[in-house]
């Protein structure tokens, strides 16, 4: 209890990103963007879904190149450790992205369902037109 109170009141110095972290982040960001470009080139990723990933890579690069920006953000968040601020931001962005993909997936699932239904009914109509069954059924209908 006492220690907690102490920790809360005593000002701790801000934790900066080390240059080792920055170099690693920059290398990863560049590798990531190269990967994205390669996926587009090989038709494995559509351009419209690549923009957001490319922006993420650029963000990583900018964060590594200008750590002052990150420290400003960390300050604004009231976080002393810049690394924690970085993690929180990245986590939030990823959460948003994944949710966005779930929304896209749901829309596509609905589209696939309707497509399957259209195809099924088309086949049923073909059956109705070609088979004797269909013509009989139609004749019955008009009598009734």
């Amino acid at each position: 209890m006492n220690a907690l109170a102490l920790a809360a009141t005593e000002p701790t110095p801000q934790v900066h990103l080390t240059s080792q972290t920055r170099i690693l982040a920059a290398v990863l960001a560049i590798a990531f963007m190269v990967l994205i470009l390669d996926l587009i080139r090989r038709d494995r990723l559509q351009e419209r879904y690549s923009v957001v990933w490319f922006v993420a890579g650029l963000g990583m690069l900018i964060g590594a190149a200008f750590p002052g920006l990150l420290e400003l953000v960390a300050d604004a968040m009231g976080v002393r450790d810049t690394n924690v601020a970085l993690f929180s931001i990245v986590l939030l962005l990823l959460l948003g992205l994944v949710l966005n993909f779930s929304v896209i997936m749901s829309r596509q699932a609905a589209q696939i369902t309707r497509l399957a239904q259209e195809r099924a009914l088309e086949r049923a109509n073909d059956q109705a037109r070609s088979g004797e069954n269909g013509s009989e059924a139609k004749a019955e209908r008009f009598e009734g």
Partner: protein, 242 residues
């Protein structure tokens, strides 16, 4: 009144022909459509042999999507009334005719065949006997659906229903693929349609077994409650258009 009876079927090759024959006998004037939900067995062939029109979904899409296919067909082909029943032989076709009477008489827009709402009748040996997990699930859904719709339903998951064109146009556009039975009731009541329950006799299934294990039931109930909760806040279509 032109009537379509549709039967969603997923791998029901053993029972589908008998169900079609039963429908033919009880409702000789109705057209029969089997919606084959991507079956890997001979369901589609058996249904065609039995003289039904078959709409084969290219891959399994779930009961909701299969039912919606039937409603879509009924709407597009201009049927005045439609009904559906399960392909596993649990639903006696003669009872479907009773549901349709309510539609013909314009006493309801959507009629549900309830296996529970007949306390006075004596039990017969081949009657439907619900399992414990089924009974719990039924109770929970009854409670929440009644809460959500302010209308009393006893058999919320019944797959034996009859409907008119108002319901066809609603369900062909908005029908939950995951939670077809319960959400559709909520939707219909919210859209101001007249939903009615009619007690029917149901039989024990002929082949296959129920997909409900206790764990699945719990998951099913949990999912159902979320679906109902969300459903309460969905925008109303009919009202918005007016």
């Amino acid at each position: 009144m032109r009537t379509l009876v549709f039967i969603p079927a997923w791998n029901e090759a053993d029972s589908v022909a008998a169900v079609i024959a039963g429908v033919r006998e009880s409702l000789p004037r109705a057209d029969v459509l089997v919606v084959d939900d991507g079956s890997s067995d001979e369901t589609a062939a058996r249904a065609r042999e039995a003289g039904a029109l078959v709409a084969s979904l290219p891959f399994n899409q779930g009961l909701g999507a299969a039912l919606q296919t039937g409603y879509l067909h009924a709407l597009r082909e201009g049927y005045d009334a439609c009904a559906h029943l399960d392909a596993d032989g649990q639903h006696p076709p003669a009872e479907v005719a009773r549901l349709l009477e309510e539609i013909y008489g314009d006493r309801a827009d959507l009629v549900i065949g309830s296996r529970y709402r007949d306390p006075g009748r004596e039990a017969e040996s081949d009657d439907y006997k619900p399992t414990l997990s089924r009974r719990i699930g039924t109770g929970v859904f009854r409670f929440f659906l009644t809460l959500a719709t302010r209308q009393r339903f006893t058999d919320t998951t019944s797959g034996m229903r009859a409907a008119n064109r108002r319901v066809m146009s609603l369900f062909s556009e908005r029908y939950s693929p995951d939670f077809a039975e319960i959400e559709s009731l909520q939707l219909a009541v919210r859209e101001g349609l007249r939903v009615e329950e009619v007690p029917v006799r149901m039989l024990e299934r002929v082949g296959g077994s129920s997909f409900l294990t206790p764990v699945r039931s719990a998951f099913f109930i949990f999912k159902g409650m979320i679906v109902l909760l969300v459903g309460q806040f969905r925008p109303r279509e009919a009202k918005a258009e007016r």
